[in-house]
């Protein structure tokens, strides 16, 4: 009879509202796949079992697609009824799920849903380091900065629910500073954060796509909730492509994207016009001054 080796599970909190990005980060595509699918696949390839993803609630626009994409990539998906307030709340939901498993995992790999550079080789390497030092918390580090995923022994994981209510997971790392083992990984991109539109821009430029800032006014601004957005465009995009990108990447604009004017450098632009590099872009709903 073969014995199942002790499992290292993975937790991917993906329930956040991506406020700083203004769009759902787990669904952003990198090299043709949503980031959440890439992260789950990397954890599976690297040897984590099971991979638990905490998705946004089913009644949020991004909840169902995140849950579907994560499940297709091989994750167990938890869908809370209300959006967890903090990342820690999502992690605790996943811990609860893993606690019910028999036997529970010996450690977990904790990874963000949007780590563009997490790949199977990095995960495998960090899990190997942990197996050599199973009492330690393993944290990858590049260019002087800590990154993801972090591998945490199960006995520390079980302390997370009893941390003081006002602190996050980082408090655990601080409490257990002496137990942390940092692992230098050469490639900064492996651990890069993806929090702001500027981070996305750097990522897209690395991919050869352009990311453009577009100003919004009146009803367009109100629908999106901000006066400036960043839109991804294919190379050589026209104004018509920009309309399509606005509708696809910002669903609240979909009903009006075909019926507003687009201004390029403060001039009304035809759909056939190529979007020039460096030009300022704006969405101009029908005007009503006077």
């Amino acid at each position: 009879m073969t014995q199942t080796p002790p499992a290292i599970a993975a937790i991917v909190p993906a329930a956040g509202a991506s406020r700083r990005m203004g769009r759902s980060k787990p669904l952003l595509e990198f090299e043709g796949r949503p980031l959440i699918a890439r992260v789950v696949s990397a954890l599976v390839e690297g040897g984590a079992r099971p991979v638990v993803v905490v998705a946004p609630p089913a009644d949020s626009p991004e909840g169902p697609p995140i849950a579907r994409v994560a499940a297709e990539a091989g994750a167990i998906v938890l869908t809370p009824e209300t959006r967890p307030a903090e990342m820690r709340d999502s992690v605790e939901l996943a811990i609860g799920e893993l606690t019910r498993q028999a036997p529970p995992p010996v450690a977990i790999a904790l990874a963000p849903a949007d780590g563009p550079g997490i790949d199977g080789a990095l995960v495998a390497r960090l899990l190997d380091v942990w197996r050599e030092s199973p009492e330690r918390i393993i944290i990858p580090k590049a260019g002087g900065r800590r990154g993801h995923p972090v591998v945490i022994p199960w006995r520390f994981v079980m302390e997370i629910p009893s941390l003081p209510p006002e602190v996050g997971i980082n408090a655990l790392m601080a409490d257990c500073a002496g137990d942390v083992l940092e692992v230098d990984v050469a490639d900064k991109a492996l651990i890069a954060d993806l929090d702001t539109p500027e981070d996305l821009q750097r990522l897209r430029e690395a991919e050869g796509r352009q990311v453009r800032t577009v100003r919004l006014f009146a009803v367009a601004r109100e629908r999106v909730g901000r006066g400036e957005i960043t839109v991804e465009l294919p190379e050589g995009a026209t104004v018509a492509d920009l309309r399509a990108a606005l509708a696809e990447q910002f669903p609240p604009l979909a009903p009006i994207a075909g019926r507003v004017m687009i201004a390029v450098d403060s001039e009304y632009a035809d759909d056939a016009m190529a979007v020039p590099a460096g030009a300022s872009l704006a969405v101009i709903p029908p005007v009503s001054g006077g």
């Binding site: 006014f217 009146a218 009803v219 019926r259 201004a263 403060s266 009503s288």
Partner: protein, 139 residues
């Protein structure tokens, strides 16, 4: 002269800017905040502009009007922000040697302004609710 401001518009001072001894006619248009639209009561209007483009379009309007009519001075000023009932949202003043062209140019400037200058108003209705005014764009 074109301008966008968030301050109340002093139409008398703006009219003085356009007066000139060679002008036999000074035509002044004021846009003001109307209370009743059909049966609905407005409590205030909020105006928003895309300032860079709006100023550019306003300057183009002035230049085109000067080509079409013999204009001595033209003043086009729009206010943005929250405006109460009766307040002035826009002032257009045109001075010309004769009244016919002053009337024509002032009307053309205001009519064309409303078609091309990126400024928007939002109705604040007395019965609750707000809505951006976007002619032809029902959402």
């Amino acid at each position: 002269m074109v301008e966008i401001t968030d301050k109340p518009l002093d139409y008398a001072a703006l009219t003085e800017q356009a007066r000139h001894n060679n002008a036999g006619a000074v035509c002044v248009f004021l846009g003001t905040v109307r209370e009743m639209t059909g049966d609905r009561r407005t409590t205030a209007l909020d105006y928003e502009a895309y300032p860079e483009m709006a100023l550019k379009k306003m300057a183009e309007l002035e230049a085109e009007a000067r080509e079409r009519w013999q204009i001595i001075e033209a003043v086009i000023v729009h206010r943005v922000g929250r405006l109460d009932l009766g307040e002035i949202s826009v002032v257009v003043v045109v001075s010309c040697p004769h009244r016919k062209e002053a009337f024509e140019a002032c009307r053309w400037l205001m009519d064309t302004f409303k078609e091309v200058v990126p400024i928007w108003k939002r109705e604040n209705w007395a019965d609750g609710g707000e809505e951006w005014v976007h002619p032809g764009l029902s959402t």
